[in-house]
Subunit: 288 residues, 2 copies
């Protein structure tokens, strides 16, 4: 069952993050960092652990990488939620970091979580120095001004743009904003093993888009209680989304097609990739 395995990964990655943060000096900054890494579905960590398993990379080697990608993701959420950005007050069912603490602490906690992500990739448990440097370079490409941060900037620009984005533009934006980090996570296993990343790259591209379409659908159909975050944001902001462009049924169809595509990309792995197929199905069935 994918949910049982996800639960196990969730506990392991939380333990690794808590350990890393416990080594920081006591105080408000550390508390805010610990707060920011609580909860979440840990989809990215699961991708790291499963892609590692498929390439016979030991779990002990993959765990710091899984923790790194979740630290990076947590930093991006803390900064995205800031008043100057998406201005959100609820995340994972809890007050956002700047509401729970304050804006300065949230900015700094996010900054320090990004630093921690790169530090975690230097953990000798991961393997040789060549592997660790390759992971640092890959995470930097996925996270920085060619990846996640570029996507976030496009997303914010879209809110004040004169014309709503087209489907192609939204697809490009989401490929960067959420797809790049999901791609890093899915390719971590082959990268660590020195194997061909193509099947998992194709899987991650389809999964990342399906994930985002599901998010857009939840923003329309979900409740705050279910999703743990504010809903109806996109419509309120008059923002083009996969739902506004394709309609609710069209978006659901597109997501289902992408999930099928993601599952097909896993063919080279046969039955051993069943948990990743289940993850793809979970991504569009989830209620948060």
């Amino acid at each position: 069952m994918v949910s049982k395995r996800m639960e196990q990964v969730r506990a392991e990655v939380q333990g690794r993050l808590d350990l890393a943060i416990s080594l920081m000096p006591e105080g408000r900054l550390r508390d805010a960092m610990a707060y920011a890494v609580l909860g979440g579905k840990r989809v990215r960590a699961f991708l790291v652990m499963e892609s590692a398993r498929l390439h016979e990379v030991p779990a002990e080697a993959a765990l710091p990488v899984a923790a790194a990608v979740e630290a990076l993701h947590a930093y991006s959420l803390v900064h995205d939620d800031l008043p100057a950005m998406d201005d959100d007050e609820l995340r994972r069912g809890l007050p956002t970091c700047h509401v729970q603490w304050d804006e300065a602490t949230a900015i700094l906690a996010g900054d320090a979580l990004q630093t921690l992500a790169f530090e975690l990739l230097t953990d000798p448990a991961i393997g040789g120095a060549e592997t660790r440097v390759a992971l640092v370079a890959a995470l930097a490409r996925a996270a920085g001004a060619r990846g996640m941060v570029w996507g976030q900037e496009q997303d914010i620009a879209a809110e004040t743009a004169v014309a709503p984005l087209t489907l192609d533009q939204i697809t490009a934006l989401q490929r960067a904003k959420t797809g790049a980090l999901i791609g890093f996570a899915a390719e971590a296993g082959p990268l660590m093993a020195g194997s061909d990343p193509a099947p998992l790259r194709h899987y991650a591209q389809a999964l990342g888009l399906a994930f985002q379409i599901a998010d857009d659908i939840l923003d329309v159909t979900g409740t705050e209680a279910e999703t743990g975050k504010r809903v109806g944001k996109d419509a309120a902001a008059n923002k083009a989304t996969f739902v506004s462009l394709l309609g609710l049924d069209g978006a659901r169809e597109r997501a289902a097609a992408l999930v099928a595509q993601a599952e097909n990309a896993l063919a080279p792995y046969g039955d051993s990739a069943e948990s990743l197929r289940e993850l793809a199905r979970f991504v569009i069935q989830r209620d948060k």
Copy 2:
């Protein structure tokens, strides 16, 4: 002459930063990143290049490290200047990043500059993978929640603290806030060469504190035109500084003593470290 050598380093590191940023997608985010890395004294880059030269590390190998430390430093300034942090409108004689662009862009440009710093450390020109991983780990320690960001958090907390900080507390705060990154820069040469970092570590500890005391003095004696940033901030905020605790003359004496200490730490290098001695003297004589 140290100023001629500093000018050379400044041009080289600017070239390396411009090259790295030119590889990012065009647009507002990239423009803000390029804006944020303009100007500055490049003290940290100079420390990297000189500590590398003293340890016979080629300049081509040291240059990406120098660019990395300046990218990291630039990110910290962009975030420090934000309204929720120090709320500064002038930096290096120009409008701060969030004034020139907007808050969201400044947050994202800072985020992407931190990512870029770590990416620069993966440049194969630096040397073997072991060296690059060691640099990533060292920069993460210096920059994160045990180093620079911790110091910045303490600095912000001090503004609302009931009792002003003591000399010991300010020293600890500044060791983290500015000292950790200066230490990374000064130790980069021995780290890359696999040599004993102790002399340059002692040099950097004294230099970092002297640098901060000089900053506190400039905040009292300097003008906005000279320093390129707002002055009189500390007194207006009723903030304890080296000047408020030691007096202007006492602070000058302490800075001079630290410069002598920094110069003495370089004894093992003999005459070849003359430029670092000149840098230490420059740090307390500068007017910006």
